[in-house]
Amino acid sequence: MTVTLTSDEEAMLDGGSGEGVAMAMRLVVRLAEAMGAASLLPVTNAHIDSCLYHGQSGLDFVNRLVEGAAQVTVPTTLNVSSLDLLHPELFLGDDDTRVAATTLMDGYVALGCESTWTCAPYQREVRPSLGEDIAWAESNAIVFANSVLGARTHRYGDFIDIAAAVTGRVPAAGLHLAEHRRASVVLDVSQLSTTLLATSAVYPMIGLLAGRLAGNDIPAIVGLPATTTEDDLKALGAAGASSGSLAMFHAVGLTPEAPTLDAATGGAPARTVTITAADIRAARDELSQTTSTTLTSVNLGTPHYSVSEIGRLHDALAGQTVHESIAFYVSTGREVLAEAGLRGWVEPLEAAGVTFVTDTCTYITPIVRDTTGVSMSDSAKWAYYAPGNIGVESIFASLDECVASAVAGRIVRDDELWS
C-alpha cells in the first residue's frame, strides 16, 4: 500500500531538512506502510523510551540523528534512563555502562527533549487531553494515555518515538483511529467483594489477567467501583502491558470513552469473561514463586510513584522504621519528588529508612544493593520483570504487606486480604 505524503512530508523524506530528519521520516513511512496507513497524522506531543541504554545500537542510532542535525518539533518528554542523575551514588553498575548511558541521555537532550526522566509523564501538571493525537512510547504510559486520558497513541516503541518527535508525524492507523478504539472483550469483575475492590493491590492483578485474556483486543472492564483512583488504573494498565500487549482498556463508568458498555464496544457484541476472587489469588501466587524466605528489599514505584502514592506510603509507615536488614526503595519522577518534599513527606520517609530513586527504576538497572533473598514489590510489573532483569526472586504484595514486612524485617502476609 502506498502512503500519500504532503509536500512537507516528501521534503523531509528527500533529505531537504537534513539526513537525520530523512532517516526519521523513512522509519515513519516504513511503519505506515507496514500498518497499511493511507497517510500520516500530525502529533502534538511525544514521549521517548529510547533513552534507556540497551547497548551500542542505541548510541549508534541517536548519533545518526544528532550528526544528521535533527531536532524535535513537538514538546517531547524523556522516559527513565539507566542512571539516577540526582542520586548518582545509587548506581552500582560498571563505569563503561555509566559512561555509555550518560552519552545516550545527553544525545536525547541534544535533540531538544526535556529532561523529565520519568515513565509516568501523565503525572506532570500539563498532560494531553481527550482526542489529542500523541506519539508515546513506554508501555504503561501508552495504556494510561489511551485509557485514562483518552488521548490517542498507538503502541509505539523505541526509535519510532523519536522519529515521530522529529518529524511531528505518525501513521494514520491503529489506535489513532476511532474504529480501532472499541472494546471487543468484556471483563466482568463485579463478583469481587467490596473489600477486595477497595484494596489497591487488586488492580494490578486485574490488569495481569486482562493482559493475558485480551490478546490484541481492547477489554472493557465492568464492575469497578466509582472510588477507583487514577493510581489504581495506572497499576492495572502497567500490569496488563507486562503480561500481554495491552495498549488500551475501557473502565466502564470511569474512563472518558466508556460512559456505558455500549459506548465502549460501539454496540457490537463482545465475549465476556468473569474474573473471580480465585483468579485474583492465583495471579498473586504466580507472582510470588520464590525458593528463599529471607526478605532483603522492598521496591515501590513501578511505574513511578505519584504524589498521592507517596502520601499513602507516608501514612502507612507513620512512626515506624524500616528494619536494618531491609533496603527500601521508592522510584519516582524528580518533579513528583519535589512536590512530595514540599508537602513534608520526603524527609520523614528518608529518616525512617526509605531511599528515593529518581530518573530511573530499581528493576532496570543495578541499584538494589542485595539481590540475594527475596525482593517484595507492590508492582506487578516490577515482580514480573525484575527476576529476568536484575536476578532477584520477587514477591508481589499490597502496600500494607510491603510496609509491615519492611518494618518486621521478614515476609509478612495478610492472607485474609486475598481470600
Partner: protein
C-alpha cells in the same frame, strides 16, 4: 511444503524453526548478549533463538523490545526471521533499525494461525519474500 505469508519486513532467511508456546517479550524476556530466552515464566526458558525462524502468535510486553532486537542484530544473536500471526509494530521497528544501522535484515512476516500447527521446532525453513518452504520430517 510451502505456505504463502505476508511480508511486513521483506527479506530472505533460512534456519531451523522454533515454535514458541507463548510470545516472548524481547525486552526482559530475551538476552541480546546470548540470544536466549530469560523470562522465568516462559515455558521455553533457556531456549536460544539465534539464527532460528521464530514462530510466535504475537509480540509481547514492553516497548523497549525494538532496542533489544536492534542490539541483537548488532551482536549477531538475533533470530533469522519472525513469523507472527498478528502485526507487531515494535518488532518491525527493531528490524527496520537493524537494517538502517547495520545493513542486516531480519524479516518479519505474517502467517495464518493454522501454519504453526504444521511446523514443529527443528523443521528447516526457507523464507523467500512471501513464500515459506519446508520438508516434512
Amino acid at each position: 511444503m510451502t505456505a504463502e505469508v505476508t511480508p511486513v519486513v521483506p527479506g530472505t532467511a533460512s534456519g531451523p524453526a522454533i515454535v514458541l508456546d507463548e510470545p516472548v517479550s524481547l525486552w526482559g524476556g530475551f538476552d541480546a548478549e546470548t540470544g536466549c530466552i530469560i523470562d522465568r515464566q516462559h515455558p521455553q526458558l533457556g531456549v536460544c533463538l539465534t539464527g532460528a525462524i521464530v514462530f510466535m502468535r504475537s509480540g509481547r510486553g514492553s516497548s523497549s523490545a525494538s532496542s533489544v532486537l536492534a542490539e541483537s542484530v548488532r551482536l549477531g544473536t538475533a533470530p533469522a526471521a519472525f513469523v507472527i500471526e498478528q502485526p507487531d509494530e515494535i518488532l518491525v521497528l527493531g528490524s527496520f533499525v537493524g537494517e538502517e544501522l547495520y545493513g542486516i535484515t531480519t524479516p518479519v512476516v505474517i502467517a495464518e494461525p493454522s501454519l504453526s500447527g504444521d511446523i514443529t521446532t527443528g523443521t528447516t525453513i526457507t523464507l523467500d519474500a512471501s513464500t515459506l518452504r519446508w520438508s516434512l520430517p
